[in-house]
Symmetry: C2
Subunit: 243 residues, 2 copies
């Protein structure tokens, strides 16, 4: 199943505006304005200027928040998104409610304290983002993420993503697909919304014990696996018999 572009001209439009370019522009702009995200529970808030608002919308990081704070626009990021901007793109600082800048290790501890599986989810998120996939929450479809080839206004998401991990028993992985009925449910739903189920296995490679800083991420590896229904007709030796 290839990408399903939304309407005529979308594919050309996407080709003319690679996501990677927009991300570079976003990165420069946020660095230039010395942007600081504010920790707020399990999210990070960031005030943006109109150019940054535009670039964040283009690259699908966070979601705009409606406030009365004019002319600033505010964006709310998930933990993965915020840490990607902070640690991978190195284009924002992150402060706590008292405007104290967090060190990388403080931030890491904070995020892991919010969700024990954060290292695995962040590894999976960044694994797709560095390949210039647009990654959004999959909660609408009962998966961890959905991945788009380009901006969601131009193309439907191609993959529903579930993140699995060998870290610390099940705690850092995903308590999914243990029984057939869950498999059947997930595949049926992905099929009905024209997505392919992509499993990202995060292998901690023994980095379990020392996962106290983001440097442990370098020791992680990611295996990709797509799962689709087996269709006897499509798998027959005699191709002429199909259809």
């Amino acid at each position: 199943m290839g990408p399903r572009w939304k309407g005529k001209g979308s594919e050309l439009k996407a080709l003319a505006n690679p996501i990677s370019n927009s991300i570079s522009d976003l990165q420069s702009s946020l660095i230039e304005s010395n942007s600081q995200g504010i920790l707020s529970g399990s999210t990070v808030l960031l005030a943006t200027n109109p150019q940054q608002t535009d670039l964040l919308n283009q690259t699908c990081f966070g979601r705009p928040v409606i406030t009365v704070d004019k002319p600033n626009q505010w964006f709310q990021f998930s933990l993965e998104e915020a840490f990607y901007l902070y640690h991978s793109l190195k284009c924002i600082k992150i402060v706590d409610g008292n405007h104290n800048i967090k060190t990388v290790n403080e931030l890491w501890d904070y995020m892991v304290s919010k969700r024990a599986s954060f290292p695995d989810f962040f590894k999976a998120y960044s694994h797709l983002r560095v390949k210039n996939w647009v990654v959004r929450s999959g909660c609408q479809y009962g998966v961890d993420f959905v991945a788009y080839r380009h901006h969601p206004s131009l193309v439907h998401s191609e993959y529903g993503v579930l993140v699995f991990s060998d870290g610390n028993g099940n705690r850092n992985g995903n308590d999914r697909l243990r029984v057939w009925s869950d498999f059947q449910c997930t595949l049926r739903l992905c099929g009905s919304v024209a997505k392919t189920l992509l499993i990202l296995h995060v292998n901690r490679n023994g980095e379990d014990v020392i996962c106290s800083s983001p440097s442990c991420l370098d020791g992680f590896s990611v295996d990709e696996q797509t799962i689709t229904r087996w269709n006897p007709e499509r798998c027959r030796e005699d191709q002429a018999a199909v259809n």
Copy 2:
């Protein structure tokens, strides 16, 4: 969400032919012909005469199997279906491959050996069947059963059913709905196929240890719970504001 009848006249047709009547007829017919089901792995096979074929189709027990054994029709039953005909309706005997009639305890042991959660699934299955719901496998929708108000040719299934149990830790229950993404997936799928998610909690009430015969089923109780998405608009105090 009420029943969704298939086409005009289906509701009247259903009212004129209650499932309970067809089940009584089936029961009499199978008793009269001294019917014997044959154990075959995790299924039971039964040869039927044309009247029984008709009644089994009407009541949705088992599924017809295509064979060259004319004029007999063969039906294949799941473990729950076979045990319901055997133990609840008492209208068939069950034999092994050597035509030896199984005692009730032998049969019980066999079914539990095929699936440790059989007592819970059978309890849930019979809980719905005695209320004259038509119960079929839910594997197409990633649930344990689907429940119809009448024959599937007249009405769409109303409930997707998952079976949970407090028996023996997780082994006899269902490894489902442990994480939000599974919840979201199941609710989204049920919604998209217009079913309500029905959870049947089978409480073993301490019958765990002595569940060595079907008599333990009498000690089980079943709690019913439907799960639907919360819709803020529908829950507002000011009803006039809706729509």
